[in-house]
Symmetry: C2
Amino acid sequence: MNLKQFVPILEWLPQYSKKELTGDLAAGITVGVMLIPQGMAYAMIAGLPPIYGLYACTLPLILYAIFGTSRQLAVGPVAMVSLLTAAGVGVLAEQGTETYITLAVSLALLVGLIQFGLGVFRLGFLVNFLSHPVISGFTSAAALIIGLSQLKHLLGVDIPRSHHIHEILWHAIQQFGHINWMTFTIGILGIVLILLGKRIHPAMPSQLLAVVFGILAVWLLGLTDYGVKIVGEVPKGLPSFSMPQFDAATIEALLPAALAISLVGFMESIAVAKAIQARHKNYKVDPNQELIALGIANIGGSFFKSYPVTGGFSRTAVNDQAGAKTGMASIISALFIMLTLLFLTPLFYYLPKAILASVIMVAVFGLIDYKEVIHLWKANRTDLALLLITFVATLSLGIEQGIGIGVILSLAMVIFRTTRPHIARLGRIPGTRVYKNVERFDNLEIRDDVLIIRFDAQLYFANVNHFRETLESYAVQLGDQLKAIILDAESINNIDSTGVHTLLDVIQDFRQQGIDFYLVGLKGPVRDALTRAHALEQIGIDHLFVTIQDAVDAFDGKTPRNIEKKAPITTQSQSK
Amino acid sequence: MNLKQFVPILEWLPQYSKKELTGDLAAGITVGVMLIPQGMAYAMIAGLPPIYGLYACTLPLILYAIFGTSRQLAVGPVAMVSLLTAAGVGVLAEQGTETYITLAVSLALLVGLIQFGLGVFRLGFLVNFLSHPVISGFTSAAALIIGLSQLKHLLGVDIPRSHHIHEILWHAIQQFGHINWMTFTIGILGIVLILLGKRIHPAMPSQLLAVVFGILAVWLLGLTDYGVKIVGEVPKGLPSFSMPQFDAATIEALLPAALAISLVGFMESIAVAKAIQARHKNYKVDPNQELIALGIANIGGSFFKSYPVTGGFSRTAVNDQAGAKTGMASIISALFIMLTLLFLTPLFYYLPKAILASVIMVAVFGLIDYKEVIHLWKANRTDLALLLITFVATLSLGIEQGIGIGVILSLAMVIFRTTRPHIARLGRIPGTRVYKNVERFDNLEIRDDVLIIRFDAQLYFANVNHFRETLESYAVQLGDQLKAIILDAESINNIDSTGVHTLLDVIQDFRQQGIDFYLVGLKGPVRDALTRAHALEQIGIDHLFVTIQDAVDAFDGKTPRNIEKKAPITTQSQSK
């Protein structure tokens, strides 16, 4: 047992030097500056008072720095998890109530426990089941929902909360006459400022610029008189310790949302952690330890009023670009936010909500992945269908349902693909020993007495009937001329017991009809399975060959070059 | 549209001749003789009065003869479907009540509609998802449950109905003092008679012999005075027309059982139909038309008091052996049973229930598949585990639950297997152009500057991380010596969009580290996917080769023999 494995901060803290501090300080403050508007804005997505976004930027960051394996990952509130929080807690309590806040904090504890458990039991591989099209469709839909949920703040009108975009848009149109144009102007100027700032320099703290602009505009011009909604009183001071509510009923009610957040949050975090690690190489990201670290960050945070957090995409990129060398950067960010909480919260009194809406909208509309749709239209229609179904399901049925349907459908597709696999009839390139798919090559030599078939999938229970039927229909087509079938098994990566049964049945059936059967290019795992089932004896060792031409030669009565009969039938024997 | 396709009786009836009638008559009467004891016995399994087993042997057989594609399949009540009927209806009504009977008949209608629908929508392939180990485990458990459910009739004691074998056995032991030894003797003699008869000749109507023996023994020796339970009054006459009860509540309550019966019944039927067809070849069995025919048989039957039927294993074998040439044999069997119903039912008055129990026990204990357990212990431990889990789940959780868990687990195993596929590092057989797995062959030439890897699965979302991590860990292991990676893609049968993304990412990553990347033996479907995604341009056409040795030669600066760069990149291009 190596303590450093479980407390990765021990890897770098003992050797920590001034050189690293320079980078970490610059990065920590840069990210801290980003966290102020983002934290408050994302809390708004989650349906929480803005201050809770800042609370979530304190202890969790320090805990991740201690237990996390990535040295640049910037943990904190992110848009997607905030949306999932709103969706999960929103069905149980009214936004803005004490109960709502209590439940959001309990959710962080539950998410933390789930992530910690997944990490301890090394179940991090579960995120592998989220395919690219599903993630893309889900993210685009979530971005659309998040963006439109901010429309009311941008327009200064009252739109009932909804996850149905047509409802939101319809309400927005109905409210056209009530738009607060001053609010709208500030919001649009905020968006323009952020986009301009980013264009001038990616590392420019343009979101903070928008915040400063908004505060000054409202304060100097007295815009509250024109109906511009502001953040108002933001309580001073650090989040105090309090036990999260955690009874059985709460757990049960929050469980679906907690599971979705655990996996989606981890997925976002591990993806960016790995991408950044690839540029550094002085450390390794361990998925299961990452789950443990995020789990501890969420558990610890929940005792200090934090709602669920994870590693964020854009902030991590900024952290890295700004020179972060170790987790110390995150600790500095957390201290920066803690100082803000202690002394600067009164400054946010006049911050217009429209500015927070503009921060959110710029962030999330960039996530809408229309390029992937165009790409998949050309590259892979099945995956495009998965993407669009996930997108539509997320919009119409809900956040967790959308991702659930996406995952189940993509697994069903994997199964479905192997139930009717690609089966090729092969012919010889004249004058060579090479056999190719007759449908892809012209002028191949094809014989009517020898059928050569390649089966491109594992042979298992769900495709054995397809295997048998395809062979039988070829046999019917060729009629009485057919004297032998050669199965090129090089692409059969696996065989289960149903596959073995069927293969033996098929061979026996054909031999009873006077059609001999040869196997070519058996792979290790398949050969092992056949050996254990005592199937090779029934097939006949003298009917196994290394190459197709060898089998053809044997059928023709010539001496094949690579007959397998001398090879002992053991696991370590001659098999590809 | 070909009418014969939908009404297959038109295939043979117009040419029907005396020669076929001879065989059909013998077979039809033989099966009819079997149907009398079996029908009554299986009705008892289903919890119905014995007469309902005979009702189910009338119209459904005629309807199947008209619409079915198999000419030897003997449709009627079977043990497994009877058990599923008892399990499904038993939770809704008390056995022996009018409601129970009504529901069993409604179940036949629902099963018929489901099967008809599955056939029309060509969903017959769904049965492919029942793997051999799952069927075996499920069948053995069901056989055990059925067999033990007859213990009360064999012992002449009262045992409460239960699907938990330990409860049944426990009750049986408690009732030891109350065993009716006369009943038990008759039952045992019945079993001995049936087994002996079968041993003397497989076509001997030994079940009917046991029935005759039982009736005579009770009647001549007045055994009812000794407490031997008899069938009693069996109503005379054909089943009358009546509308099945079919409201929404009934449908909803029966749906799980109906789904299970539809699929399990079809599976049993299609398996035996195909096995028998393989010996005839003068017709073809069409799975979807079979579903339609079974559907019509069940629907039609339900209007004449039939409970769910399907094609039975042993009766079909007897039908074929006795010389059945066409569906006329089934029609004759049905007429035989109808005559029995009209005139012979009084004969069954003294039939002891213990004899029916002995018919059932002999039939089902033969289904317990302990040989497969022994076989899989040696051949495939994963499939053994699936078998045993299905077996235990069926015994402990219930009939439908057992099969459901089995199916889900076997699909999960398929997915799981492909998430961590076999990955082989290859080395050259010295002096040849042949490359083999270094873990299975000794004395292969292995270079430290060129890593040759074969990936044995489709490359898709759930295994891309495994693919990347395996390559990266090899790269770390080889360190700075590594200059090129050659991916043998011959076993990659498919690639999805996540796979394409990852492959490009990995290639780019390695090339940035100064490690070149070659692809060898791309298959048609994979090449097409890469082409559509414009990935081949990024990989470089001059980095694609037909054989591993060609790629090695290219890396070494030699001219490879089979460089792909001249091949046009189209679907019909040079690809294996």
